[in-house]
Subunit: 419 residues, 2 copies
Amino acid sequence: MNDDQSPASSGLSRRGLFGLAGAGVVGAGIGVGATAAITAATATDSGAAAQYAFFGEHQSGIVTPAQDRLHFASFDVLDITRAELAELLSDWSYAANRMMAGEGAGQYGPASGPYDAPPDDTGEALDLPPAGLTITFGFGPSLFDDRFGLAAKRPDALIDLPHFPADMLDASLVGGDLCIQACSDDPQIAVHAIRNLSRIAFGRAGLRWSQLGFGRTSSTTKAQVTPRNLFGFKDGTANIKAEDPKTVTAQVWVGEKDGPAWLAGGSYLVTRKIRMIIEAWDRTLLQEQERVIGRSKGEGAPLSGGSEFTDPDFESVGATDQPLIDTDSHVRLAHPTATGGSQLLRRGYNFVDGNDELGRLDAGLFFISFQRSPQQFIDVQSNLARDALNEYIKHVSSAIFAVPAGASPDSYVGAGLFR
Amino acid sequence: MNDDQSPASSGLSRRGLFGLAGAGVVGAGIGVGATAAITAATATDSGAAAQYAFFGEHQSGIVTPAQDRLHFASFDVLDITRAELAELLSDWSYAANRMMAGEGAGQYGPASGPYDAPPDDTGEALDLPPAGLTITFGFGPSLFDDRFGLAAKRPDALIDLPHFPADMLDASLVGGDLCIQACSDDPQIAVHAIRNLSRIAFGRAGLRWSQLGFGRTSSTTKAQVTPRNLFGFKDGTANIKAEDPKTVTAQVWVGEKDGPAWLAGGSYLVTRKIRMIIEAWDRTLLQEQERVIGRSKGEGAPLSGGSEFTDPDFESVGATDQPLIDTDSHVRLAHPTATGGSQLLRRGYNFVDGNDELGRLDAGLFFISFQRSPQQFIDVQSNLARDALNEYIKHVSSAIFAVPAGASPDSYVGAGLFR
């Protein structure tokens, strides 16, 4: 196979079939050529019926209205060749396109008889609608080492994030060669997507870490109500909105002159698992909580006055000449006026991973942001070094990925890497 | 306080306020008497708007149509007195009643001024509907040791479950003095409930273990489509249905002559965390998967023929005189005909807790069943000793709780223990 010519719409590679079918039962030709690319999927937006197109100018799951549930996975590529890596990415696009249209990852039931192979889809999403599923692929800095001859393709900006003051990283939750973000309004759909893509990768890439999330913490469109994070505050009021194409172009999409051609129309994805010290926060005075955030808890209005969408007035002072919005408050330090204009398209999710050995909820925010350059995130995060919120959080994971542009139906996401 | 006279509707105890407010800021009289009991809540059943009554003959969350999301928590009672235990249960009922009606766990914002205490609710469910929230309380065998003078109140049947063949229990996930099952169609609502009840218990009971789940695996009413477990099979086709009061009475509710008076109208709750060996299952032939379960994967029909709701015919044989439904199949061994008539009201949820250190999904079924007697579960589980499914699962947690009847608005769940 010529490694830049494996259109995702033509079916799974033999290795992809191998991943699905397990050792010894390969070769039934399952699904190859049997399914035309699903490109006409209408991007509707009506709850469970929502369905988005996989192929297109940009990948889905970035400016797509934030869905309610997340399954995110980071992978290490195993000992395979450059051509096999390309084949994996093509196989992933093939299955992602199918699943986003509400079909199985592969044809359900082997083509050549009912019983001679494992099902090509694990089945738990049978009968369910796509529920707004989006699948977004990204490439970590480590993919561009010398294993696959991709070193020359690495964008200069795609390097591991620096250490930040609130970092208490768990090495097992950091980085990865590849990532997949699956978002849906139904957790069973998001889990089904990651599970089947992991199966397809069998022998080629292995799960490094993964994270489930719920209750999106950011509205990414003007029509969405601003959700709340587990501190009980609205989160994402000042987020970049999809309806503002000028800001999206300036802050989210990588431009043609920004770096390598394969990344034009793509973005950079940063993830940070932020554990919240829930019990300490919950015993903090409401006044202190609001001082730390810089907004009221109920309405979400800036402490300088107004309502949720009123611009914060950082100059306003109270009776004692103290600023109404504290100098160390989160809203002040994260605001574009404090970060040299850097803005992030945030798309994070709350998480609760049970409890720790001390009986404290293992909960917090799985932060996800998309930006045109990693420097935007670095600017914002560096500015948060003296954030009053740091007393109540710790960052336990960190990763950065370059997210290529979308693919056309005769190609696959990431094909540009191999040209 | 007379320990059997603390109506849940009269507000939180001083200790409950302490749990909410933290050290040093007690005494503002938050919410005491400020909120009338919410008893008129209509049990509607229309998605996010669904709302159930907390007070009633039975506790909610048993025959209630299974919601989509679960947060389950097991607690150890700390070093408190009998009266303080009663007070905790009263405080929990007070808050549960409020939250099931879509209110905060306590009054939002202290009554005596905006800023002199932490909020009495953590806030992440502000603006959200109850989304069908039910909160169900249970008591483990260990609650009836000599700490609280309850030994004489222990039902004879409430003892730790025996060891079963597929058990590979993690000691940190077993048992507990108290349990709370919170179910809702919105995970943020279920999580909010457990979090705030944990806060109220501060200093009185501590989290022992907890579990989140999604995508219910059983339909508990005839109107619900049978959902699928993570093996991709429909699960719960033959479950007890709420519309069958005769079976519910015979199999779910503890009768007046069955045991202590405080448990009449209640039930026994069994939980089992069943880890699925997903990767092995996914590489198993479809034929083998269906043999193991005894049903077809797509339709869910018994292998003896028909459609999903056709009764399995265990006598039917195929061309080679082999039974069409294998003798070790799950459906045969779990069927009431094989368990002496014992049936369970199953109400389990799928879980995915990320991945293990080998990159395998840490996923499976958090099994929950309600039954009139623990013996029903023991009968069924004992019969599954040679279940072909055991090759693909392991039970890692186990717990049993007695679930008292519902409370009237002038009392609280569990008050009967202290009479």
